[in-house]
């Protein structure tokens, strides 16, 4: 087990290194100039040049990369070119909303998808199944922002029972915290609900066809008990995989959702940083999100062994 984790971690390190290089080059080769943006629309070229020198952006790319690596080795992600706030601080201040949104989204997706998928599998071919599958296909065919706008229009502007936008910390009370999360989690979660529902359904159909389930049924176990006890246990592995792979999708979706609901999370930080070429911030974010992706998938790999000891990596 320890060996497995170590091996995974070392290959993770390689992946992270690759990501770091890709990210650095990608961003620095782009034609935008942060100095020009800092200076403002009315700035003169001389003023921009002054600012560029002040930020060290006039140095050769290799020097900049080396300096970045050296600082990274000391655990320093640098400071924002614009606000001069340390990148670490900036990211930490944005993690809570994003994690809240991600967890709420996943909880919603799992809690709705598993019952739906199980019912669809049980009723396979009947109208319930069809309805569930139609819903699932529709749910991941419409862009998140359209779903978001529709939900805001309905629940926030017409019914007035939920806030339009924003995020409040848990410190302001659990009710406002949850209220602010409902609509974003719903718009982002529908996609995952659809994915997980389909996955649950097809796995359950497969599992239900297997001998031991038939035996269990024949032994007179109640239908519900059979389904849940044996089926779900076996369906866990593909479900966990889907969730693991969904993380990248989730991070992408978070960017859009945060923008629609004005949630001050990592996603919005990213778009801001990218459009303004705030290099240290972009580098920091991509490292952190990639790291998250890799760690989550490591956990997923480990959980296979928990759910199913037969699986060997």
């Amino acid at each position: 087990m320890i060996q497995f984790v170590l091996r995974k971690l070392s290959s993770t390190a390689i992946v992270m290194g690759l990501v770091a290089v890709i990210v650095f080059l990608l961003i620095h080769l782009s034609p935008g100039d942060p100095a020009a943006i800092i200076a403002g629309d009315q700035a003169t070229p001389a003023m921009i040049e002054q600012i560029r020198a002040g930020l060290g952006l006039d140095q050769p790319l290799i020097v900049q990369f080396w300096l970045w690596l050296v600082r990274l080795a000391h655990g320093d992600l640098g400071v924002s070119l614009f606000s001069h706030v340390p990148v670490g601080t900036l990211i930490m201040s944005r993690i809570q909303p994003t994690v809240s949104l991600a967890v709420a989204t996943m909880l919603f997706a799992i809690l709705t998808a598993i019952p739906l998928g199980v019912v669809a599998a049980w009723q396979v071919g009947r109208w319930v199944d069809r309805a569930v599958m139609a819903l699932a296909i529709a749910a991941f065919s419409f862009p998140i922002f359209l779903i978001g706008y529709a939900l805001v229009w309905g629940f926030a502007l017409k019914l007035r029972i939920l806030p339009v936008q924003g995020y409040t910390t848990l410190g302001n009370g659990i009710v406002p915290y949850l209220q602010h999360l409902v609509l974003p989690a719903l718009s982002l979660g529908l996609v995952f609900m659809a994915l997980l529902t389909r996955m649950t359904r097809s796995t359950m159909i497969e599992v239900l066809g297997e001998d031991y389930i038939r035996t269990a049924r024949a032994k007179g176990l109640g239908q519900g008990a059979v389904l849940i006890k044996h089926g779900l246990k076996n369906a866990a592995v593909p479900l966990v995989t889907t969730i693991g792979n969904g993380i990248a999708l989730l991070i992408g979706g978070v960017v859009v959702t945060e923008s629609v609901f004005s949630i001050p999370g990592i996603g919005r930080l990213t778009i801001d940083a990218v459009t303004q070429r705030d290099f240290p911030v972009i580098q920091g974010i991509i490292l952190v999100t990639s790291f998250t992706y890799v760690v989550v998938n490591l956990l997923v790999d480990l959980s296979y062994r928990l759910f199913d000891p037969r699986v060997r990596a």
Partner: protein, 292 residues
């Protein structure tokens, strides 16, 4: 499915149920294909159908609701949404199909190499992991600011994050197929590698690849819209569903039709492609078909 012994009644019963299943299985494909055909025809024939130039400004008639002269209304430049939606479909579809084919091609080659050759497996899959670890939308945004925006760049930006997904799938399928006895048998009769890949491995991996291609196509059409939404998509002068919706998002409360119609077209198209993919999977994958 083999001709097992059956009493006439069960046989009749089975036949009835099978034909019903057959029809219902086809229903997904039929609906998907019908919707898709309609949308594709509308888009392809856009120059013949549309009453207005999709980029012509008519500033006097800005933000007009749907009417007899503008079926889907006009946008904030007075451009005809009906014309833009149909023309946008061409661009969005072109982007989706190109990205799907491109990622299927590249992903299949990488997956095949990784699945067949041990020496290629680790380095290729590490690179794929690296690409997958960067969220697709971020990668696309990065690509978009790297060069001048244009349809080819959008296609590449959408393709790159999809490649690892296809590659992983193909690799896993190949890993299974290459252990199949018929592959060993082919080796035993002296089959050379190119023929082995082309005649034995690839044809048997084709079904999951085809299904995956439809899903990638659907997702590519969506990602195009997301890139448009984030302002890094196809240049605004070219109408695509993503661009039209993105242009109109400020006007949701004032002129819902700007996002409503292209949004509906977009959603319907993605749904149709997904249904087609599901249908093809159910029809071609005997393992699943047997169960359904």
């Amino acid at each position: 499915m083999t001709g097992a012994i059956a009493t006439p009644t069960t046989l009749a019963f089975k036949r009835k149920r099978r034909s019903f299943r057959f029809l219902s299985r086809h229903l997904t494909i039929v609906i998907g294909a019908t919707l898709m055909t309609i949308l594709v025809l509308l888009s392809v024939c856009a120059p013949l159908i549309t009453p207005y130039d999709p980029v012509a400004l008519d500033l006097i008639h800005r933000l007009r609701p749907p009417s007899a002269s503008h079926w889907f209304g006009t946008d904030n430049y007075g451009r005809d949404i009906f014309s833009r939606t149909l023309y946008g479909g061409r661009v969005s579809l072109f982007v989706g199909i190109s990205a799907a084919l491109l990622s299927a091609l590249i992903g299949s080659v990488i997956g095949l190499l990784a699945g067949m050759f041990r020496w290629a497996d680790a380095p290729l899959m590490r690179v794929m992991d690296g690409l997958m670890a960067i969220p697709a939308i971020l990668l696309a945004v990065g690509m978009m600011i790297l060069t001048r925006p244009g349809i080819p760049i959008v296609i590449i930006a959408i393709t790159i994050p999809e490649v690892p997904r296809v590659a992983r799938l193909v690799r896993s399928v190949v890993l299974v197929i290459r252990e199949q006895v018929y592959v060993q048998a082919a080796v035993a009769i002296g089959t050379k590698l190119p023929r082995l890949l082309l005649h034995h491995i690839l044809p048997n991996a084709l079904t999951p690849i085809i299904v995956q291609v439809t899903y990638v196509c659907a997702s590519a059409v969506l990602v195009e819209a997301y890139l448009g939404f984030l302002g890094v998509g196809i240049p605004p002068e070219t109408p695509s569903w993503g661009n039209i919706i993105s242009d109109g998002r400020t006007y949701v409360q004032l002129a819902i039709w700007i996002v409503l119609f292209p949004g509906a077209f977009l959603g319907t198209m993605v749904m149709a492609i997904n249904m087609l993919g599901d249908g093809v999977r159910d029809m071609l994958d005997p393992r699943l078909a047997r169960r359904l």
